[in-house]
């Protein structure tokens, strides 16, 4: 198969890591030794015994919460990224295809959204609409889609002036068909690269919001909030609070390895 055969070790490593995370996320209820919000013992118990990685500030099993956290954080990040790409790519391509009023309105709107720091806007929107999983996904997806919009619009504009697109127009093809058949396959490489980056950024944004206390509402486990909850342990030289951070870092690296490889494939370069 083309995906596996000439794959460099970095991409293999990334794919394996992502696969493991996905398994953890999907089968969390069966893999995790304890429940997500179960209080089982004293706060901050040490590693070993019944609790492999000890317990957190409220006496919940840390390993279990790490596994449940994968489910929550990854699921939300994936949904958000997909939504922002659907929104940004469709609008960006549409704007490039209909230069005129649609392009002007959409592009200026995007300029306005991008002019304000996105974390600030996110905080503002969350405090207006209230924190919650759905609001979180919608708000971050909308803000992130601005960058996807710009990329999709710029790359589409480069492709849409080429002769094969003109040939399709002369044939009488509709705009949707032209964008789908002639343009999209030719802008997929930069979009895939952007997808990897955006996924990581969304992930970090959610973690940052959780750390600030505006992420997923407790007692839901997510990695950003877990760092915050157990931050006090750092002062005692205990590395436990760094574990969720490590989980974030590892996934980010793995995703980028795989995206690099996909990009290589999509760019059509041989070696």
């Amino acid at each position: 198969m083309r995906f596996w055969h000439p794959m460099p070790w970095t991409a293999r490593f990334g794919a394996v890591v992502i696969g493991l995370y996905a398994l953890l996320a999907i089968f969390a209820p069966w893999i995790a030794p304890y429940g997500e919000a179960e209080i089982l013992g004293g706060a901050f118990e040490l590693w070993g015994g019944d609790h492999l990685l000890g317990t957190d500030n409220l006496g919940r099993d840390l390993l279990s919460r790490l596994i449940w956290g994968a489910r929550n954080t990854i699921g939300i990040a994936l949904a958000t990224t997909l939504l922002s790409f659907a929104l940004g790519a469709i609008l960006g391509m549409a704007a490039a295809a209909n230069t005129g009023l649609i392009d002007q309105v959409l592009s200026r709107l995007v300029d306005v959204l991008m002019a304000v720091p996105s974390l600030l806007l996110t905080l503002l929107a969350l405090s207006v609409f209230g924190p919650g999983v759905l609001n979180l996904i919608l708000i971050i997806a909308l803000l992130d889609s601005t960058r996807v919009y710009r990329l999709a619009r710029a790359t589409t504009m480069n492709v849409i002036v080429l002769d094969y697109v003109e040939a399709a127009r002369l044939r009488g093809e509709g705009m949707v068909s032209i964008l789908w058949r002639e343009v999209l396959p030719n802008i997929s490489a930069p979009l895939i690269a952007e997808f990897g980056l955006r996924f990581c950024f969304v992930f970090l944004t959610i973690s940052a919001l959780s750390f600030l206390g505006l992420g997923l509402p407790p007692p839901t486990a997510d990695w950003g909030a877990m760092v915050k909850e157990n931050a006090a342990l750092i002062t005692f030289g205990d590395i436990t609070p760094l574990l969720p951070a490590l989980a974030i870092a590892l996934l980010t690296v793995a995703v980028n390895f795989v995206v690099d490889h996909l990009l290589h494939l999509a760019s059509g370069l041989k070696e």
Binding site: L162, D163, L170, R171, G172, G268
Partner: protein, 536 residues
């Protein structure tokens, strides 16, 4: 100092992956001698030209042989010393002058850079020299010409400025790499004349690389024919033209003599396939780019539209396809009025007019297979599906002489330039059109490949009765396939008639000038033509 200036022995160059580009070439050039290098693309002409400067392109490497310049082995010298030769004793003139000048600097600043770097002259001396050389190159207003930026002069002037710059250090050897290929014929003749006179006056030796036989015949004392990185033959220009020894060289000559027999005019009663009546068009609110253009395209014939770049040839095509809505005038398809705008046309009308593009690279979607590219019009207009579609695509591939089983699932990246252009033809044919616009379809191709495309187009016309509008600036192509000729200048039709009438009897001054500018494979052509113009 010996008389032998450049001596290349058994030179072998290959890509880093091992594909050979030059397979053991010998070349010797004496002082003041001009050697022409000709051959199709991929023959290794440019690689040989660069190797004469001790240089190879990124991704390539010299595997063997020696390049002696004035007694010194360039390949044995360290890079730092080799660089002292370049620009000072060996100069290079590239095909695209526009891409070779730095757009942010004035021409004079770029001229004086090399002499100052090599310590040949101070700024003021070098500037005075520039004025002299600009004058010799026939550039307007030599004293102030250098103050312009590259975008402020025309393509032909830029190419001459580039040659002047190459002369700045009075090099012993100049390598010209297709210096006139990108120019119109009327501009080309001026540049050729300027290059020839300067090279003779200053007694430089030159390597002149081109794929155009007629051009090299004017410039070179000797010609070397290359193919697939090997020498085919080398001889003094006169003998190579009058008595080529090798089959391949003869085939290069034969292409230029391809001529379609004149055909009787079709009966007047039939509607022309397409008729333009007083079409005027402009881009935006600017000056008109088409002025009162009226052309009848007789059904089943090939009508060549010729003229320099900017004459409105392609704009006429855009008006016909509906991409550019004319301000006034009518377009009729088989006697019925055709809506001016693309979106007002019916599917049947769109189907009857198809287009083949100049650059096959951008005309085919690199992500689609030939099955999708050729199959789409058949499915879109003809509603073909499944097995019927597959059969139609295979039939079309066979018609363009590509083995269906081998090619149907390839993508454009896996085809040669000529094969891509054939696919472009098949895509147009798949719609089953009445009228095909061929926009410079052979100008990006080598002569032999172009000949194959022209023969294919003629055969398809005999089979299907399709009408061609053949846009080109190459008059030997016109002679090869056109039934009639339309001459355009500055957005207007200035002359039209049957091919033989235009070529033999036209008295229109612009048509004559255009025809006279086409180089002929006759070593005296340039001298003769310049002399005639001088008198006239």
């Amino acid at each position: 100092m010996t008389d032998l200036l450049l001596d290349i022995r058994n030179l072998q160059v290959a890509t880093r992956l091992g594909a050979p580009i030059l397979r053991g070439i010998d070349l010797s050039l004496h002082r003041g001698e001009v050697m022409g290098l000709i051959g199709e693309s991929g023959a290794g002409k440019s690689t040989l030209g660069l190797a004469a400067m001790g240089y190879v392109q990124e991704g390539c490497r010299i595997n063997g042989g020696a390049v002696h310049f004035d007694g010194q082995d360039l390949l044995a010298l360290p890079e730092k010393q080799r660089r002292l030769f370049r620009g000072a004793r060996i100069a290079y003139v590239a095909q695209s002058a526009a891409a070779s000048f730095n757009p942010a600097w004035r021409l004079i600043d770029q001229f004086t850079e090399a002499p100052r770097l090599h310590g040949h002259a101070r700024r003021a001396e070098s500037e005075a020299d520039a004025h002299d050389l600009y004058g010799r190159m026939g550039l307007p207003d030599p004293a102030d010409f250098g103050l312009r930026f590259p975008h402020q002069v025309s393509g032909g002037q830029l190419q001459r400025a580039m040659t002047a710059m190459a002369m700045a250090c009075r090099p012993d050897l100049i390598v010209f790499d297709e210096p006139t290929t990108a120019l119109d014929v009327t501009t080309q003749i001026e540049v050729l004349a300027a290059i020839r006179s300067v090279v003779r006056d200053l007694n430089s030796a030159a390597l002149y690389i081109t794929h155009d036989l007629a051009v090299v015949a004017q410039m070179a004392d000797r010609i070397k024919v290359l193919r697939h990185g090997e020498e085919v033959e080398e001889a003094p220009t006169g003998r190579l033209i009058s008595a080529p020894q090798k089959e391949y060289t003869r085939s290069l000559w034969a292409v230029r003599n391809l001529t379609r027999p004149a055909r009787p005019k079709p009966a007047e009663t039939n509607h022309p396939a397409l008729r333009l009546k007083g079409v005027t068009a402009s881009y935006g609110r600017k000056m008109a780019v088409l002025r009162d253009v009226s052309i009848d395209f007789a059904a089943g014939r090939t009508i060549a539209v010729v003229g320099e770049s900017g004459s409105g040839k392609s704009t006429t095509a855009r008006a016909i396809t509906g991409l550019l809505k004319p301000l006034s005038g009518d377009i009729e398809l088989r006697g019925r009025a055709l809506p001016a705008a693309l979106r007002d046309r019916t599917k049947a009308e769109l189907r009857s007019i198809q287009m083949i593009y100049q650059m096959a690279d951008t005309a085919l979607n690199p992500r689609q297979t030939l099955r999708e590219i050729i199959g789409r019009p058949a499915a879109f207009y003809g509603g073909l599906r499944g097995a019927a579609l597959d059969a139609r695509v295979r039939e079309l591939l066979a018609a363009i002489e590509l083995e269906p089983g081998q090619f149907i699932d390839r993508r454009p990246g896996e085809l040669s330039g000529g094969q891509k252009q054939r696919v472009g033809i098949a895509r147009a044919l798949a719609a089953d059109p009445e009228f095909i616009i061929c926009d410079e379809v052979t100008s990006a191709l080598d002569q032999l490949v172009a000949e194959g495309i022209l023969k294919l187009l003629m055969r398809l016309q005999e089979q299907t009765g399709v009408t061609y509008m053949f846009i080109t600036h190459d008059l030997s192509t016109v002679r090869a396939i056109a039934d009639s000729v339309v001459v355009m200048q500055k957005g207007a039709v200035v002359d039209q008639g049957s091919r033989d009438h235009i070529f033999q009897q036209s008295t229109h001054p612009y048509t004559r000038r255009l025809l006279d500018s086409v180089p002929e494979t006759d070593t005296d052509w340039l001298t003769r033509t310049l002399a005639q113009r001088g008198r006239g």
